[in-house]
Symmetry: C2
């Protein structure tokens, strides 16, 4: 199939740390795509329900009419299909396994705790999840990033794409958990700044303060404030 | 590195549906490995704690001293390292994405509901999880298996390895959820029977009734009966 005939659509929502992965992976590969914002509160599109009938969640990457659901799976798919451009996953099987391990840790720990603290009701903030969130962010910095410029080593890669949502979300987590990223995880903050200098990232991610304000707005709508 | 010098160790526990994946993948590739049973109740080995300090869970595949944690990641690692023998993942990127999607569904839905119903206290059985478990098993059969002999199509592959634990666990889930697999998901039952005829599976999986009795024993130990 020639690239000229390819149709790439991304069903997404702008605050989603999962959607950001797909956006950045597509930009890294310089793939033109149609970006469709979903109305997630009670009015999901017929296209989303048809393309992801199992989970009904974004992001969904639609490539020539065929859906790829779940963000990390979409990133691997993008990397495998558009092979020639800026390879994301390491070529060494052990390094690939390590990158996949930390991406999985991010979803099971960081973003799961993040979900719990973000959508808790005022006065019912789960203290254990706050501690879990700050500790798992610090573990990610210490064990997966360390002194390297990128999670992928010298090169921006798959794990950087997996973690990329933190560039926007860290500010919100700092406020909710009352922790100071600049002093508690300075290497991660430097990494986020480095990433935001990339075109693929800066054009794909929302400004942290705008994201926090939106979250406050959603909490009001949901009666959680 | 020559295969003769390779050391492969699997830290495991015999009832684990996750451990079963690693066992079957190793057997499919005809890889000799040392199988170490862990004492998971309060006495994990020093080796396990050192090899998986983040989650402290089994299975851990240790290849020439280096750990690969998380079962689906271990299966992909095995498939990538021992390439020549019985390829597990489909070669087509879209089919790979689909196989990964359903493996992820299995962990997020089937086994998560399975965990909730198995380890609930007597009289506190979570009814919603029972319904979720039976419905997600049926979804897996209808949407991912269908009329194919294997989840991988004509050929036993990655998704079959991911689902393999159901060959042993289905019996336990039937009793807990009071559902009849033979009538409610006959294609899945036929698939399980087909899989159990493979050497790689039959030598790696426990007998379903023995597994159920062990679960009853563990629930007694934990004071859940």
């Amino acid at each position: 199939m020639g690239e000229a005939s390819e149709e790439v659509i991304l069903l997404d929502f702008w605050t989603s740390m999962y959607g950001m992965r797909a956006r950045v992976a597509l930009e890294e590969k310089q793939i033109k795509y149609e970006h469709k914002q979903e109305d997630l509160i009670g009015n999901k599109s017929e296209l989303l329900l048809r393309m992801n009938p199992i989970h009904k969640t974004i992001p969904v990457l639609i490539h020539d009419g065929k859906p790829v659901c779940e963000s990390l799976i979409a990133v691997e798919y993008i990397d495998e299909v558009w092979k020639g451009k800026a390879s994301l996953l390491p070529s060494d099987p052990y390094e690939r396994a390590q990158a996949r391990f930390w991406a999985d840790f991010l979803d099971k720990k960081v973003y799961e705790y993040g979900r719990q603290v973000t959508w808790s009701r005022k006065g019912e903030e789960p203290e254990a999840a706050k501690i879990g969130l700050t500790n798992s962010i610090k573990t990610l910095e210490e064990e997966a990033l360390g002194d390297k410029p990128y999670f992928g080593g010298d090169k921006f890669g798959y794990l950087d794409v997996a973690v990329i949502g933190l560039c926007s979300w860290l500010h919100t987590y700092e406020i909710i958990c009352n922790f100071n990223a600049a002093t508690e995880c300075p290497k991660l903050v430097a990494w986020a700044k480095r990433c935001m200098e990339r075109d693929s990232v800066s054009k794909s991610l929302p400004e942290p303060k705008k994201l926090y304000e939106a979250i406050l707005g959603f909490k009001k709508v949901f009666g959680l404030d």
